[in-house]
Symmetry: C2
Subunit: 229 residues, 2 copies
DNA sequence: CGACAAAATATTGTCTACAGTATTCTTTTT
DNA sequence: AAAAAGAATACTGTAGACAATATTTTGTCG
């Protein structure tokens, strides 16, 4: 049952204008990524509709989209279930993410502007400050912003869109192991900036590959540790 | 009820029509890729519904999915329009496709089984026959099957799904220039098989990269030619 | 004759209702 | 008492209706 364990006050509010389906989509995505809706849980359309104060239709359309993006599984005549990630799938996502990010770094080295490099530097500084201040949320946010900026500099919208989806799902799968690698991660970011500034595609590619591999190893390390508990 | 002598659960469920939205989705995708619905065209829900003999609801759900997959643009309060590919976007898709296919080749070299190599050989032979017989459709089909098999051998479902989507869109964008590179393309396929058989990841990667680059060049060549007409 | 305004039309967005199907509970039979 | 058949329930799938909004047409004024 859905109503169990859902804080009614924490439900994202739907205020902004625009199509209802969009806001329902965002609300549901938030509920899923925040684990208010847990993997495997059966999502009953009428429950969600009532919860969000809309009819079933916008909910259905939101669920359709969440389905094609891999957040929920839509079993015919049975309904929507929050997707349950497997070990294999999580690892495959990391592989794909590494691939996309690496290519983005290479393209960024080829196309970056001085303004772009400046923005990267600022984001890096912000991240380093956050690490020093030990503010986990700020570190995570700065990290995401940094990678997003690299992706933006790559100038490939198709690549960016795929990466955005993969990234969000990776973050979801691995939130239980809340990864923070500390200052080392930002030293690698600095290296990457230098490579991009030097227009050295090979170096940028190599550095990003190593960086994502480190992050991946960090994920698995934490995952293994929680496994043993 | 007539006693069939079989337990209820063991009766294999005969192929049901399945959800209408699925068939509507497939029908619309076919109409788009076949260019019966042209880029930029306004898709009126009631017209499509009438055309397919269903109500607006399944049509809407199909359009939602087509939207998230990039086939149609959904402008709020205005409706669905068949996506209009730009020159930039088409090229970006080719870049991403090359990236995904190259990684797939590398992974295939790492994981391929002897049965898999056998299947690749058969598909290659089929393609070569089709080239000799000058059967364009068969060549295209064999080519798609070959690449799909490589992707399958890579053993990464996430990568495969992304590649499938990107591939189909690439094919759509470039159908006007119906590309056939002839036997050279299949010589490259043979090289790739050898590299995979040798478990040589670097070689497989390099060959697939070159292969997709050749195909890309072929696309642009044809596109430039039609441009000038 | 052209530009602007207002009504008319067309189309999407949302809600409600009903039909089809899977699941659960109850009853019956061995 | 256990298993199977049957009824009851719950939920999804689809359809149709109504409301909101954009577009087009028409009419009017400068």
């Amino acid at each position: 049952m859905l109503s169990t364990g859902l804080p009614h006050g924490a439900v994202p509010k739907l205020e902004r204008p625009g199509p209802l389906r969009e806001r329902v989509y965002e609300a549901l995505l938030e509920l899923i990524t925040s684990r208010a809706l847990r993997p495997g849980q059966h999502l009953v359309e009428t429950e969600l509709a009532g919860l969000l104060g809309v009819s079933r239709q916008p909910v259905r359309e939101a669920l359709q989209r969440l389905n094609t993006e891999g957040w929920v599984d839509l079993r015919p005549a049975q309904g929507a279930f929050v997707h349950e990630p497997t070990e294999d799938e999580a690892d495959q996502l990391l592989v794909v993410r590494a691939l996309l990010e690496t290519e983005a770094a290479r393209l960024a080295a080829a196309h970056a502007t001085t303004e772009g490099l400046e923005r990267l530097g600022e984001l890096c500084a912000k991240g380093e400050d956050a690490v020093r201040a030990d503010e986990v949320d700020a570190v995570v946010a700065a990290n995401a912003a940094f990678h997003a900026e690299v992706m933006s500099l790559a100038g490939n919208a198709v690549l960016a869109e795929l990466a955005a989806q993969v990234d969000q799902r990776v973050r979801w799968y691995y939130t239980p192991v809340a990864r923070v690698r500390g200052m080392q991660s930002w030293r690698e970011h600095r290296e990457l900036i230098d490579a991009i500034a030097a227009r050295d595609e090979a170096a940028a590619s190599r550095i990003m590959r190593a960086h994502t591999e480190h992050t991946r190893a960090s994920y698995h390390e934490r995952a293994d540790r929680t496994e043993g508990e």
